[in-house]
Symmetry: C2
Subunit: 192 residues, 2 copies
């Protein structure tokens, strides 16, 4: 059964849609650079819109954070399907896993601030997780069918391993990628 679609309320009118995109982009970039405690007024300034415009579209800080998070999850899912089309199964899985190094409950992260606001087991997080899992299952199943990974792998195993990398304190991207390389070697079928 396909999961519930990601909650996204992008407006249809041109000027409103343009400002929605500007706000989500400004928020994402600002959070990545300064952490999520940047003021809404600062985000509106960086988006080039008025604070009233931000509040018309996002009635609370949490609403904006959700929109940014959904945008990221949508990208994670889109990439899975893109990699599936463009790459061999194992390479697709590897590229996909590499693309979300850096996500997790680190200091000032989107996920951690949304956890405060909604709780870790909220319906919101569960829908997002379900969508990511659907995409991940596609890639993993294809890699298995191609004989390119161990047959006993569950998606939960893979996500756990990547989550472990993400849990490291302030991990350097270089080290994160090196650790992922190690994990990817381990996913290969055992020599026989």
């Amino acid at each position: 059964m396909a999961p519930q679609p990601l909650p996204c309320a992008r407006p249809t009118r041109a000027d409103a849609a343009r400002n929605y995109d500007r706000l989500v982009t400004a928020a994402r970039e600002t959070f990545a650079e300064h952490g999520t405690d940047t003021s809404l007024e600062e985000i509106a300034r960086r988006a080039g819109v008025g604070i009233g415009t931000l509040y018309r579209r996002f009635p609370s800080r949490t609403a904006l954070l959700e929109a940014v998070y959904v945008d990221e999850i949508q990208s994670v899912c889109d990439r899975a399907y893109d990699f599936d089309r463009e790459l061999e199964p194992f390479d697709a899985l590897a590229a996909w896993l590499r693309s979300f190094l850096g996500y997790g409950l680190s200091k000032g992260s989107l996920a951690s601030e949304l956890t405060v606001a909604l709780g870790k087991e909220s319906p919101f997080f569960q829908i997002c997780k379900a969508n990511v899992q659907e995409a991940g299952h596609l890639l993993l199943d294809k890699a298995k069918a191609a004989g390119e990974v161990r047959d006993d792998l569950e998606l939960a195993d893979v996500m756990r391993l990547v989550g472990g990398i993400n849990m490291g304190r302030d991990i350097e991207p270089k080290q994160a990628n090196r650790l992922l390389d190690i994990v990817l070697c381990g996913l290969r079928p055992a020599a026989s």
Copy 2:
């Protein structure tokens, strides 16, 4: 090797110690009742001290949250040693596990707001976790030695099971306790 002691900077001078206690107690009660986004001014009012007094002792919101969290962790650890003295091994373990139902990354919880501020893998959390694990190992090892739990149990297993109960969305205490009863039955050695 015993873990690093919990970070606690309770002052020694009588009036300062008294206000420290009042602030930590007021903060804990307010957070339990209204979530952790209560203003510091409100907490100072409820503690019956001035905002300057709060800031002299806790230079930031995070510092106060840490003090409250450490106080809770200290209680968790103290209870383990108390139960160890007062109860049979299995009963001690059961009472201890029951005493921290309700902790976790729920909406507005202390742990989740501290995760935003510090990161889930921060030294602060690691010290707290190490202290809890030391206390937990004491109780589990004694229950094993008495033959009252399965021999193959690791503390991580038990914590995972209780953590799973805590992860439920807005779980009712009655349901949480019922689920714990189920887990406790499962911890018993298999009939042979």
